[in-house]
């Protein structure tokens, strides 16, 4: 129980720190780009919105930094993230619209990649010195290229040259989003190439990590004993070695998730996939500060949340972590 309390406190602190960083970034920036933008948008955004923006970015001369900070948190808890400059609609609405796409894409692709990578790692690590080792350099190559570049190549081959999959978008624009099989099929069809890109670039880390753990674990005594008892090879491999080797995979899951999400954000632009990353980069090039901050906020929250799940799963699976400290 103590373990879970400790972790909860840690994530609460991390959440607070991320939000505080989010608060200070625009205030630490040199110059005053926000006032300039407000001036440029004068008459296009309502006075209420301007007040909210001033509060958000600390342009109100009459308040202390502490008061601004308190207001910032009050706004956060009310789910008020300001008004987007370019879209002129509440940032929260834009985020609510695009977040499911990113979470769905990254979530499904990561689960596929984790499963394939871990299984391949088990096989390669158990039977070292076979032809399967060739997978290692190949997957290492794909892990060193940026996601967005692989996305370009994938589009060039599968969309432009072969014409098997669409090059951009997240579903057939002629359809109205609903819960029919037809629409789901369209989402899957449009999502295949982006998901493929994520899987191919991220799978190497899982393979390598699992393989190295299998190598380490397979020289442990209990594996030798299991082997000596004459248990079937499969049982030793899956029930004894892989079962213990998979634990570090889970803890590295948490760390690599931020990296995967980062890569996916840029990749979304290449595919014009209407997720958070697409919004973030659009906002960045349009200098749409409220939207930028909102995107950063939800991305951080989502990664934090996934970390909490991975961490607690680890705690449930491995009793040793619960005892420590």
């Amino acid at each position: 129980m103590r373990f879970f309390v400790r972790r909860t406190v840690f994530y609460a602190i991390t959440f607070w720190a991320a939000m505080t960083i989010n608060f200070f970034i625009p205030r630490l920036m040199p110059g005053d780009p926000v006032s300039a933008l407000i001036a440029a948008n004068q008459g296009k955004i309502s006075p209420d919105a301007i007040d909210a923006l001033k509060a958000l970015f600390g342009l109100d001369e009459n308040t202390t930094l502490w008061q601004q900070y308190v207001t910032y948190w009050a706004h956060l808890f009310q789910g008020d993230l300001g008004i987007s400059f370019s879209g002129r609609e509440p940032v929260v609405d834009i985020l609510a619209r695009s977040l499911p796409w990113t979470i769905g894409l990254v979530g499904i692709a990561t689960i596929i990649s984790f499963t394939i990578g871990t299984l391949a790692g088990v096989a390669i690590g158990w039977r070292r010195g076979t032809r399967a080792d060739i997978l290692l350099p190949i997957s290492t190559f794909f892990s060193t290229v940026p996601y967005f570049w692989l996305a370009l190549v994938v589009i060039a081959v599968f969309a432009v040259r072969l014409g098997w999959f669409p090059a951009s978008g997240s579903y057939d624009r002629s359809m109205v989003p609903n819960l029919s099989w037809e629409f789901v099929g369209s989402v899957v069809y449009y999502g295949t190439l982006p998901a493929l890109t994520i899987v191919v670039t991220s799978v190497s880390g899982w393979i390598l990590g699992m393989r190295n753990m299998m190598v380490t674990v397979s020289s442990d005594d209990y594996v030798t004993v299991a082997q000596a008892k004459g248990l079937p090879e499969r049982t030793v491999m899956l029930g004894y070695a892989a079962r213990n080797a998979i634990l570090p995979q889970l803890s590295s899951f948490a760390l690599s998730l931020g990296f995967i999400v980062g890569g996916t954000l840029v990749m979304e632009t290449v595919f014009s996939y209407q997720g958070i990353g697409y919004q973030l980069l659009k906002a960045t090039s349009a200098k749409d500060y409220p939207l930028m901050q909102g995107c950063f906020l939800v991305i951080t929250l989502a990664v934090l949340f996934a970390n909490v799940i991975a961490d607690f799963a680890y705690g449930v699976l491995d009793p040793r972590t619960r005892q420590e400290g």
Binding site: I13, G129, F141, V145, W149, N212, V215, F259
Partner: protein, 330 residues
């Protein structure tokens, strides 16, 4: 220099052991094929970065009438929609890619070393605070943070990008170093030095730091490859100025000018392969460092053919330690 630094790692058990002797042992790490290949590739790009302006066949901004030409003898990597030479852009872009990556790597490693060793050595509340700080930075997704900071800056030039990458990317090194410092701090040779009345800064610099060299090097290499990817990503999405050349800028223009739809594969293929080559060279160097530190990984790093040739058959219960390892213990 590097050779000397890395060799100290072999005496991890304690500095009171006799120092390694002879040039043969000193250059042991050089015999690692992976590390050598990695250094070779990296040296090639470093050379191009240094002499780029003199060997580039054309001015990268110069327009010509050869619009969107595939690779030919005149233009080895083809031309852009304005008739600019892609190869010249790639060659001239190498310098900023490597420079920013190494500056960011140095800065991040420096922060990581200071925070990690302090946290590990001081212990108590200082440790709790510092490791909480690095854990927070580990969990917050880095690339979005970099994009937000760089996007809000009035101008995101080369050095600024390096600093931003360093500020967001030091945490991993700090965490690894803290754990190792914690375990070193209680070792006999450190206790002995402390009992001798050595001052704290000497304990840290002369007793602990040398034993962390391999880890620091590995962290540095890792940060450099992260920095390469990050800054290229920043250029690709157009946050850094699009008129200074680096590989990301080339890709930015390729994407903006619809190279994909026009079938101009050379425009994005060659810069991407350069990124991959630099990334692979850094990964190979890191594998080399890993195998140097952990002799067991030497045999696991061998491929099937070499294993057979050396008569090693991997089995359960044993990790063969290949020959070089014996000389380590000398």
């Amino acid at each position: 220099m590097a050779a000397e630094l890395v060799t100290t790692e072999t005496t991890q058990v304690g500095t009171e052991q006799t120092a390694p002797t002879g040039t043969k042992r000193r250059f042991l790490w050089m015999r690692n094929t992976k590390a050598l290949t990695g250094f070779g590739i990296l040296a090639f790009f470093a050379l191009i970065a240094a002499i780029g302006p003199w060997i580039a066949p054309y001015d990268p901004d110069e327009r010509s009438s050869d619009l969107l030409q595939p690779p030919s003898w005149e233009h080895w990597m083809g031309t852009t929609h304005l008739g600019q030479d892609v190869m010249s852009q790639v060659i001239l872009g190498t310098r900023s890619v490597l420079l920013i990556a190494f500056v960011a790597g140095f800065l991040a490693t420096f922060i990581g070393v200071v925070v990690g060793i302090t946290a590990g050595y001081v212990g108590g509340f200082g440790d709790e605070g510092l490791s909480a700080l690095s854990n927070v930075f580990l969990v917050i997704p880095q690339l979005p943070l970099i994009i937000i900071i760089a996007g809000m800056l009035p101008s995101a030039g080369g050095l600024t990008v390096a600093v931003v990458i360093a500020i967001t990317g030091w945490a991993w090194g700090a965490r690894v170093l803290r754990a190792q410092t914690l375990s070193l701090r209680k070792r006999d040779f450190v206790e002995a030095a402390r009992a001798n009345g050595e001052r704290t800064w000497r304990l840290i610099l002369a007793e602990i730091l040398p034993n962390l060299t391999a880890m620091i090097a590995a962290g540095f290499v890792g940060t450099v490859s992260f920095a390469v990817l990050s800054q290229i990503t920043l250029s690709f999405i157009g946050i850094t100025p699009t008129d200074t050349w680096n590989w990301g800028t080339v890709l930015y223009w390729a994407q903006a000018q619809l190279a994909l739809q026009r079938g101009a594969w050379w425009w994005y293929m060659f810069p991407g392969l350069c990124i991959a080559l630099v990334g692979i060279s850094l990964t190979l160097i890191n594998f080399g460092i890993d195998e140097f530190v952990n002799p067991r990984l030497r045999s696991t790093g061998l491929n099937a053919k070499t294993l057979r040739r050396r008569g090693i058959r991997p089995r359960i219960g044993f990790t063969p330690v290949v020959h070089e390892a014996k000389e380590d213990r000398a």
